[in-house]
């Protein structure tokens, strides 16, 4: 009989234990008499170093450690939608029932409610041969939402029996001839990507409802975006706005090392909001993973893997899933804290040298895919990641590592945020590699002229910027009327087209058609005013304020009202033209 493993050292979130001769890397263990969750991250002889996912204060040298033989896994199955999980997949509501208003270590609660009944409707019959990813049947997880029960990766054979009816998540719904049983729930190790049949091209836009994003820096479904910005520049507001209004079947929102009150905000708002596509509560399409800044740091590291695994699982069912991660910098810092305690040789700014490769493989889990199994279906996982550069300095290692792999960058600028120009996306620094791929869709679906309007708008912004620099030297009054008009139009573009208040009842989300209409109106205003100036009218004599008000009315009109408002504004513009003649 070997001696039981005992804690030999506790420092921060790390525990050293021995003797543990048989354990493997990334194996989980129960640490201490309270059974805290720990993961083996280093082995030397029979001594193992574990990162502990829970508060380690009070943990004693000499307490027992027992390995579990499993890796860090999440239980997947019906009941995830609408839930709020911690970084280890424990529902916060269950934790509250277990330990009250404050979190304590060692709470052992399951991700899925083991007592809840679901109605399973089989899609196959006994005798069918099945392969990984095949749809066994469905469960109506939320009203109108079909949760497809899939054959887990790596499993194939002939169905001996399969029966519809009411089941809890752990009851057998079907069985293979070789005795393999299927339940509604399956487990998956979070650090491993779930397999797909094939990756598809990124040519469908992921509509965000944010004009500056859809119009200037669109992201494709299955694409990846980095949103770097200093504190208070609007990363969380963008993540939340997209979680509310973006065109996706399902949202996984990871609050990684951020604020508790922000989570309270989501939890109080989302259930009250209606998903415009389905008419149901927004919470019905949302899964939250919450590990606030004051919760254990190792669980912060795990939380992004947990979130992306949840997203992959629904993608595999054939859904278009968007993952919001706020913020990846906190994840990287967790990595740094752990690696510093391991006395790893540090890379840049103390981050471990494997930072970039870990980030890279995380981003690789996004994509538009042909799902494994039958019936044939496609799914998408779009990744929107906030990044919090220290001092707002984008040259730091985490931002740089993200910029190298992300397909689009929405860079936020504190100067714009200070002027309350929101979303504070810096259009000179931001870019999207999905632009060419998605323009045809916009041209076809949002209205012809999208590409052209976009080009003209950017030109005006650029010209406006140059003129502003000149004006700062010689004074705006010394500019020609035509140039002063450009300055004015550039201002209107920022105010009426690119600016969008997340708090507006009617304009928090903008359909692509409205985005194009607003852009066209401002461009038409520029044309009309330029013609008037060319015909000899002074800029001061043009009633731009009047026109501005009509265009602002379009911006502030809701989804039903904007087309009418746009017609009115166009009609008004004709007046500015005529006045001039």
């Amino acid at each position: 009989m070997t001696a039981p493993a005992l804690i030999r050292r506790v420092t921060g979130t790390l525990v050293e234990a021995a003797p543990l001769p048989g354990v493997g890397l990334y194996e989980l263990a129960a640490v201490g008499s309270g059974g805290l969750l720990g993961e083996v991250i280093r082995l030397a002889g029979d001594r193992a170093t574990l990162q502990v996912y829970e508060e380690t204060n009070g943990l004693e040298v000499g307490e027992p450690v027992s390995p579990s033989g499993r890796a860090l896994e999440i239980e997947l199955g019906p009941g995830l939608l609408g839930s709020v999980l911690d970084g280890l997949g424990r529902p916060l509501a269950a934790l509250a029932a277990h330990s009250g208003d404050f979190l304590t270590a060692g709470a052992n609660v399951p991700t899925l409610d083991p007592a809840r009944w679901w109605t399973f409707g089989p899609a196959l019959a006994a005798g069918a041969t099945v392969a990984p990813g095949d749809v066994l049947g469905t469960v109506e997880e939320r009203p109108g939402f079909a949760h497809r029960i899939l054959v887990p990766p790596g499993v194939r054979g002939t169905l001996a029996h399969i029966t519809g009816g009411r089941y809890t998540v752990h009851e057998t719904i079907a069985e293979l001839a070789d005795g393999t049983r299927f339940t509604l729930a399956q487990r998956w190790p979070v650090r491993r990507p779930r397999p797909v049949a094939a990756r598809l091209p990124d040519d469908r836009p992921f509509l965000t409802g944010q004009r500056i994003l859809d119009f200037l820096f669109p992201v494709a479904e299955g694409g990846t975006v980095a949103v770097p910005g200093g504190f208070g520049t609007g990363k969380t507001v963008i993540e939340q706005s997209l979680a509310k209004w973006a065109d996706a079947d399902l949202i996984v929102y990871i609050g990684c090392g951020e604020r508790g009150n922000e989570m309270a905000e989501v939890l109080s708002e989302f259930p009250e909001l209606t998903d415009p596509r389905t008419g149901r509560s927004l919470m019905d399409r949302t899964i939250m993973v919450v590990n606030t800044s004051n919760m254990p740091v190792a669980a912060r590291e795990a939380s992004v893997y947990l979130g992306v695994t949840l997203a992959e699982y629904y993608r595999d069912q054939g859904y278009r899933v968007a993952l919001m991660a706020d913020s990846l910098s906190r994840w990287a810092e967790a990595l740094r804290e752990i690696s510093a305690r391991l006395s790893d040789m540090p890379g840049e700014e103390g981050y471990p040298t494997y930072l970039a490769s870990r980030l890279g493989s995380f981003y690789e889990r996004a994509g538009r895919v042909q799902c494994a199994g039958t019936p044939e279906r496609t799914g998408a996982l779009t990744l929107i990641t906030a990044i919090s550069p220290p001092g707002g300095d984008f040259s730091e290692p985490v931002t740089q590592a993200c910029l190298r792999v992300a397909g689009a960058v929405w860079a936020l600028d504190p100067a714009l945020a200070h002027q309350r120009q929101f979303p504070a996306v810096d259009w000179e620094v931001s870019y999207s590699e999905y632009l060419q791929g998605t323009l045809p869709w916009f041209e076809q679906e949002a209205g012809t002229g999208w590409t052209d309007a976009r080009r003209r708008l950017l030109e005006l912004l650029q010209r406006g910027r140059e003129l502003k620099e000149i004006a700062a030297l010689i004074g705006p009054d010394a500019l020609q009327d035509e140039d002063r008009l450009v300055l004015e139009v550039a201002r209107l573009i920022r105010e009426l087209v690119l600016g969008q208040s997340a708090y507006s009842a009617t304009d928090a989300s903008s359909p692509a058609g409205k985005t194009l209409a607003l852009a066209r109106l401002v461009l038409a205003l520029h044309d009309a005013a330029r013609a008037a100036i060319a015909a000899g009218k002074a800029l001061e004599r043009l009633d731009l304020a009047h026109q501005r008000r009509h265009i602002a009315a379009v911006r502030d009109a809701g989804p039903e009202a904007w087309p009418q408002a746009a017609e009115t504004a166009h009609a008004e513009l004709a007046r500015l033209g005529k006045e001039a003649v």
Binding site: N57, L59, L92, L95, D101, V290, N294, A340, Q419
Partner: protein, 463 residues
Amino acid sequence: MTLTLPRSYQGANGAAGPLLFLEGADRVALGEWVTVRIPGTTDRRGQVIDAGDKVTVVQVLDEPMGLAPGRAEVTLTGEVARAVVGKELIGRALSGVGLPLDGLPPPVGEALRPVNGAPMNPSRRVRPSEFIETGVSAIDGLNTLVRGQKLPVFSGPGLPALELAASIVEQARAPRGEPFAVVFAGIGITARETRRFLDRFTKAGALERSVLYLNQASDPTIERLLCPRMALTAAEYLAFECGLHVLVVMADLTHYCEALREIATARQEIPGRRGYPGYMYTDLATIFERAGILRGRPGSVTQLPILTMPDDDITHPIPDLTGYITEGQVVLGRDLHRRGVFPPIDVLPSLSRLMNAGIGKGRTVPEHRQWADQLYALYAQGREARLMAAIVGEAGLGAADRRALQFGEAFEKEFIGQPLGRRTLPETLDAGWRLLEAFPRDDLTRISDAAWAARQAARAAAP
């Protein structure tokens, strides 16, 4: 978590700065509270920061000078660091580690609570949305504070942050007669600053509603790490178990961060930005996240931390990491201070992230958001015009820029500046409207027709 009984050891094996190394100790727990007794000196307290079966590292919380490991009797108490809490603490002045400074016997309190606290379960939090009137226009009007928020003041050397905090405390004691308390953590501030602050407190009659934790500049730096946690432990008890609305003022967090850096250096850790430890974000979060409101409990903890931006640099790690954790910031501007504006709040970089939940219909006034947006937009334009005017002269500006420039000046003097003292919210709103009304209606692009009409009607009705 089964802590053992006290165990004593004669003689430690080494010391480095505030760290004491102990070999062969039995069943040591991380975070275990330690007493160190050396004949001829006062007892010291410490905490286990690295528990090992071979070597255990104790961080000593009192003066390290004279720490003689060979002669030390080290007792592992079998407990984690705890603080006395209770309503009885109200009116008391204690040191940063909870010892009496007011000549009274040590407080007995109602309970002992671990100073590190435990994270609130985010799903049990109530979204903060209750407006707190501070009497400061730049805050009430433009960067509204709500109950349960953590809103720091970013100050610079010599700027009147403590005065601002004192005036907020004076005001915050009044509303609706609900039970309230103030917890003040003075972290490494000078005796002069402490006295100035306490004078204001006393005058306002807030002292008898306050618990003071004073870690003075002359106290050992390491005690600074404990001081805010003591204060917050007391505050949480008053809020969540006694049902009080607690305002926690902490000054100066910069001293706290410097203490953190000192310890990290003593532990020979790999430094992060500018020598501050890589875990400073997480460490500060365990302080700032202890603000909030819990479902089904009547009280609240609101935090007003104060920090000094070294060299007025907002990108310095201390303000930077703070801004990443708190729900906004009130930034003081040297330029305004120089021109005699009090309070010298630079509203452009200031922000209250919870403002939106705290204003509007049923909370302040329905048009609050547009009114604030309009003031912001014009002031931002005014500041830009000021820069331009510095080069091309005022005459080179267009008419709109000239108006914005004048607005900017007036806004700083008449709205930000409050020479006559506190303003009620209606007075704040009125001060803003007056400035806006100097513009043609068409320039007020953020103000809706409805809000404009309402204002005009109200003005006509006023005597």
